[in-house]
């Protein structure tokens, strides 16, 4: 096999320009595929990490209805009755608003979450402080900042800010560690009741987060909650979803985008493969006489087939290897570039895995060999006399 490989390499080196052009065809296709898969996987991983931060034993309640949800609508809900549903461990509410916020240097409309203080404790894996502390319960005029908003406003622990209107002054007691979700980092977190008071929407929530008890099936708890809420309220104005359903929803959207972009990349790869096939057909035609000679001195069909398949497979492999390097480069480059331009793109990351690299290499060799298959079979089947006569 080593000898066949060295023969194949020699033939490739014998026509370097054509070999490289063919390799570039595969390279471009493979780079596109690898870059997209790498970014797609990275994106998926970043999203998975966000959801894992919350944990999957969580049920969300939002406004809207069973068939759609609304981020912005608010609703009233008796948390005590939810808490009594079988399987519910804790229930905490949030209100999301964009009031006018003033600090010493800057002011403007900013996203503010009013949180039931217990919520940060219940989800301490998600709300982790970078400086200071999280809301512990019992506070009123304390605020926690997302890392980006803290940086933008130039605020740190101990500073003050004002939320209007009327003016309520808060002391900043903590700054959260950044997460991939840009909304998380851009928001200000204050106790729920104070925000309700400022906005004038007491008893109103944007979201309710429920942790289920260990040993309970999250989905069936969610179903029970949904049913009970419908019965109690006599209308379908709430959307109840498990964390897993939310993740799958996101995953589906990403999946569709990935399939679309992947399809385009696959076309590039297909064009590259056709390039290999074309080059190999030309090689067989040019070397018809040589094939005749090899057959005359004892080459079997399998020998000829092997030689040509190694040639095309090797072109595929080199193209795939360089394409993988380029693709990872593009992935990482895109990530660094976009992150340098905006803070909002922490979800954009290039995943580099051994599996990705290995499967790219195997795929490229296989593509090369498969594209070379028909030309190589033609070569192997040439009748020796005719091949010898061909000049």
């Amino acid at each position: 096999m080593r000898d066949y490989l060295s023969l194949a390499m020699r033939n490739l080196r014998h026509r370097p320009k054509r070999s490289w052009l063919t390799i570039i065809g595969i390279l471009i296709g493979m780079a596109a595929v690898v870059a997209l898969v790498s970014l797609g996987q990275g994106f998926q991983q970043a999203i998975d990490r966000e959801f894992e931060g919350f944990g999957y034993n969580v049920v969300w309640i939002m406004g809207g209805g069973s068939l759609h949800y609304s981020w912005t609508s608010t609703f009233e809900l008796d948390l005590n009755s939810v808490q009594k549903i079988d399987g519910v461990a804790t229930a905490g509410a949030m209100l999301w608003k964009t009031p006018y916020v003033k600090t010493e240097k800057k002011e403007g409309f900013l996203p503010v979450y009013g949180l039931e203080p217990s919520l940060m404790r219940d989800f301490s894996g998600y709300y982790a402080p970078k400086a200071g502390t999280i809301l512990k319960g019992g506070e009123t005029r304390t605020a926690i900042l997302g890392s980006d908003v803290a940086e933008d406003l130039g605020l740190s622990v101990g500073d003050r800010l004002i939320i209007e209107r009327p003016e309520y002054e808060f002391t900043i007691v903590g700054i959260l560690k950044e997460r991939a979700d840009p909304d998380f980092n851009d928001s200000i977190y204050v106790p729920l009741s104070v925000l309700q008071e400022i906005i004038g929407e007491t008893e109103k929530f944007s979201f309710v987060l429920i942790k289920t008890k260990d040993g309970y099936d999250v989905k069936s708890v969610a179903d029970r909650i949904e049913k009970q809420l419908k019965d109690e309220r006599g209308k379908d104005d709430l959307n109840v979803q498990t964390m897993e359903e939310l993740r799958d929803l996101m995953g589906n959207i990403i999946g569709i985008a990935q399939a679309f972009l992947g399809g385009i990349a696959a076309i590039a790869l297909l064009v590259g493969s056709i390039g290999v096939m074309n080059t190999m057909y030309m090689a067989v035609l040019e070397r018809t006489h040589e094939i005749g000679v090899m057959k005359a001195i004892g080459a079997r069909r399998r020998d000829i087939l092997t030689l040509f398949l190694l040639e095309s497979g090797f072109m595929g492999l080199v193209g795939g290897f360089l394409g993988t390097l380029l693709g990872l480069g593009i992935g990482i480059g895109t990530m660094l570039l976009v992150r340098a331009l905006t803070k909002e793109a922490r979800f954009l990351e290039a995943a580099i895995s051994v599996e990705l690299i290995m499967s790219a290499l195997v795929l490229s060799f296989v593509l090369g060999a498969v594209s070379g298959w028909l030309p190589a079979r033609n070569a192997a089947k040439l009748p020796p006399v005719e091949a010898l006569r061909y000049e």
Partner: protein
């Protein structure tokens, strides 16, 4: 050694069928040096292709060391070519990308002979044909006579019983041609069966026996 019994070969050419061999019967003994002569179109090349197992007859039998090769499948034929027959062509037919040494090694590669063994054998053979000092040259860097000597070394690589030479001096000047014929003679003395297809009466003189073909049949030369 080699027996042809009533061998026919018909080629389709356009709409007509060309009868290249019309019932040829011929026997070549082991260790013989036979020259095959005849004008163009007499069926010389067809005969050589059939003897070399490069092609199959339309009818009749070809026995090679008592094996009927006229019905063998392609891969068996390849095996016979690889082990029992050495070809020497008019235009040498060396692989241009390989050095002289590698060209001589090539038949052994197809016989799955290990690399080190191949190399030693090829070096010995190049020494034998007087090409030891040029074995790392590519065919393009060699003269016609030198290329033909490399081709003879290649034909000998797998130590075949039979050497088939198709106008081996046709593209050479007379001195190189003579050297090649001397070399074939020497192989004959060493016990190889040599079949030489040629136009050239001087070349044919090296043979024990001359077989003349005309219109696809044996011809006694009008004698």
């Amino acid at each position: 050694m080699i027996k042809l019994e009533n061998v026919r070969k018909v080629y389709p050419m356009g709409d007509t069928l060309v009868q290249a061999l019309r019932g040829l019967t011929l026997e070549i003994r082991k260790g013989e040096f036979v020259a095959v002569m005849g004008p163009s179109g007499s069926g010389k090349s067809t005969l050589l292709h059939l003897l070399g197992c490069l092609d199959l007859p339309s009818d009749g039998k070809i026995l090679l060391q008592d094996v009927d090769v006229s019905r063998l499948a392609e891969d068996h034929l390849a095996q016979v070519r690889g082990m029992q027959i050495g070809f020497v062509f008019q235009t040498f037919h060396l692989i241009p990308t390989l050095s002289a040494l590698e060209n001589v090694e090539l038949p052994l590669l197809f016989q799955r002979v290990p690399r080190a063994q191949r190399r030693v054998r090829a070096q010995e053979l190049l020494q034998k044909v007087g090409m030891a000092d040029r074995m790392h040259h590519k065919p393009a860097q060699l003269s016609g006579g030198e290329r033909q000597r490399v081709a003879i070394a290649r034909a000998l690589a797998a130590d075949p019983e039979i050497i088939l030479a198709d106008e081996p001096t046709g593209n050479l000047d007379s001195a190189s041609g003579k050297a090649v014929l001397e070399l074939l003679s020497q192989l004959h003395r060493e016990g190889k069966t040599i079949i030489l297809v040629t136009h050239n009466p001087e070349a044919a003189e090296y043979a024990d026996r001359i077989v003349r073909l005309r219109d696809g049949q044996l011809w006694d030369g009008g004698a």
